[in-house]
């Protein structure tokens, strides 16, 4: 297992039993310089244990996506350190399937770029597509699949990267309600089955409560961790259950206060 640390200050190694698989310490990200400077994130601390499902919610422009980009290593923090124990995979808001490849080839490409040898790729691709319930659609091209199916291929591709930490940036935002509910079940099943660690960004509070072991509220401009709430409801949960609604309403109030304070 590899420990990768990136940050503005020298890397610090976290270790010992119960260590976090992902840890952000005092992470600040500033875009631009001088007058055009925007502080996207300020002093964000976040510790995610192995196997946890953490959902991150905040008003638009609060730096949720920036946070994921920093964790994935697509951008570097201005200050602070990010420690990731293992590999990171990223699931985008858009399925981002390559239109010239079939569903199978899209998944295969991830394996290939990860250096998996050809002999092992065929069976692995098949397993992954079956895991996301796409058996029988392997040779379809993205334009021949529905939105929900494309997002499943995208999920299979994320799983192909064999990562310990999976980042999801509002992956279900563009789906209709029923397809989205089905995807919640799938993601939850796969998360349990594979023992993944997931950081899931959304702007939908009920979705956050439906999926998360913890819901992290981010304040806006600059983004900070406003609240970090454990959700102890039994799984599987339903988006429209009373418990989920109550938790979501409470968190929404907290977030509205934040937005109001910010605007005022």
């Amino acid at each position: 297992m590899t420990i990768r640390t990136r940050g503005a200050t020298p890397p610090t190694r976290s270790g010992g039993p119960g260590a976090a698989v992902l840890e952000l310490r005092g992470v600040t990200k500033v875009f631009g310089r001088g007058d055009a400077q925007t502080v996207a994130l300020q002093g964000v601390d976040l510790r995610v244990e192995r196997g946890q499902f953490v959902t991150v919610v905040g008003a638009s422009g609060c730096g949720k996506s920036t946070m994921l980009n920093l964790i994935a290593g697509l951008e570097r923090p201005t200050e602070g350190t990010i420690t990731v124990d293992g590999n990171v995979a990223f699931m985008f808001q858009d399925p981002t399937l390559l239109p010239w490849l079939t569903a199978r080839q899209n998944v295969d490409l991830a394996l290939r770029l990860a250096g998996v040898e050809r002999a092992r790729r065929g069976a692995r691709t098949q397993d992954l597509l079956e895991l996301v319930n796409l058996g029988g659609f392997e040779d379809k091209r993205p334009h021949e699949l529905s939105g929900g199916m494309r997002q499943r291929v995208s999920l299979a591709r994320v799983l192909a990267q064999d990562a310990q930490v999976v980042l999801m940036d509002e992956p279900l935002g563009a789906l209709d309600a029923m397809t989205r509910d089905k995807m919640h079940d799938e993601i939850e099943r796969i998360w349990t089955q594979l023992g993944l660690t997931v950081v899931f960004v959304t702007h939908n509070m009920r979705e956050a409560v439906r999926l998360g072991d913890r819901v992290v509220l981010l304040s806006s401009r600059p983004g900070r961790v406003k609240r970090d709430t454990r959700i102890d409801l039994a799984r599987p949960r339903k988006m429209d259950s009373a418990e989920v609604a109550t938790h979501a309403a409470e968190l929404t109030d907290a977030l509205s206060e934040e937005v109001a304070a910010h605007v005022g």
Binding site: L98, A114, K140, H143, S146, A177, M178, M239
Partner: protein, 286 residues
């Protein structure tokens, strides 16, 4: 119960398309062309009737009827001489175009990599593209001599800028999320080009190749008309010879041949580009 629950499942079914039989596909490709030919012949016949038959402004041997030209064309197609012309011309086209393909692609890829090159060379490429390639002939003849290489040079200069521009516009139009995906999947260096950049730029690249071919073909005809080619004769030389002999039937027959070859090659590019777009779901099947 929220209103969401009432939303019918419309999203989770695969998109179905009716397949068309090969026969109907070929017919769909052929009939518009037949119709276009019929329209051209009808207009030509009308012009012939006006100029020759009704007003007598032009004698028959100066402006032959389509039937005369077509029979002259058929006669010409039966001769081995004609096929030698075609072979010579096509050989020149293929040589010049192949070099243009190589140089245009490499220059395009190199220019796309660097901002500085982009600013300078990019506009130069567009400049070269707008410059009529026939303007290069005097230069080519002086530098390369009165021979094949002068023609090759001008065909190359005609085609390469369009091909390089095809690469540039292909790379410019790659959706940024594909590049981001490449980063996330760890596609770097050659792998990035092989799996992301090159396939993503293909549709625009093929358009550039098609345009490059059109310019190459024009440059080649111009060169052959100028009689640059020395010993071996191509279609352009034949055209020039027909003009010198006032053999209008033959002149029009050669023109028809030039048109047909141009259309056939264009058809190849169109079918490649159509196939690319269809596989990517960029076309609407009817």
């Amino acid at each position: 119960m929220s209103a969401d629950v009432l939303t019918p499942i419309v999203d989770d079914a695969p998109v179905r398309r009716e397949g068309r039989s090969p026969g109907s596909r070929i017919w769909g490709w052929v009939w518009p062309k037949l119709m276009a030919i019929a329209i051209v012949l009808a207009l030509w016949e009308l012009l012939y009737l006006i100029l020759v038959t009704w007003t007598g402004k032009r004698p028959e041997y100066i402006f032959p009827a389509p039937a005369t030209a077509l029979s002259s064309f058929w006669e010409m197609v039966g001769t081995s001489r004609f096929w030698e012309y075609v072979a010579t011309t096509m050989q020149r086209a293929v040589i010049g175009y192949s070099i243009a393909l190589l140089i245009g692609t490499l220059v395009g890829l190199a220019v796309a990599r660097s901002q500085a090159l982009r600013a300078g060379v990019g506009s130069l490429i567009t400049g070269l593209q707008t410059m009529p390639s026939i303007a290069w002939f005097p230069f080519a003849i002086v530098v390369m001599g009165y021979n094949e290489s002068a023609i090759t040079l001008v065909v190359l200069i005609g085609a390469a800028p369009s091909i390089a521009n095809g690469v540039l516009s292909g790379i410019d139009h790659i959706p940024p999320q594909f590049l981001r995906l490449g980063d996330v999947l760890g596609a770097r260096g050659v792998a990035r080009y092989r799996h992301i950049v090159v396939p993503a730029m293909l549709p625009n690249y093929v358009s550039g190749l098609n345009q490059g071919w059109a310019f190459a073909w024009r440059s080649l005809m111009a060169g052959e008309l100028l009689g640059v080619a020395g010993a071996t004769l191509g279609l352009g030389n034949a055209l020039n010879a027909a003009r010198n002999m006032n053999d209008m039937g033959k002149l029009e027959a050669v023109m028809i041949a030039i048109l047909i070859i141009g259309m056939l090659v264009d058809g190849i590019f169109t079918s490649i580009s159509g196939g690319l777009r269809r596989r990517r779901g960029l076309t609407i099947d009817r």
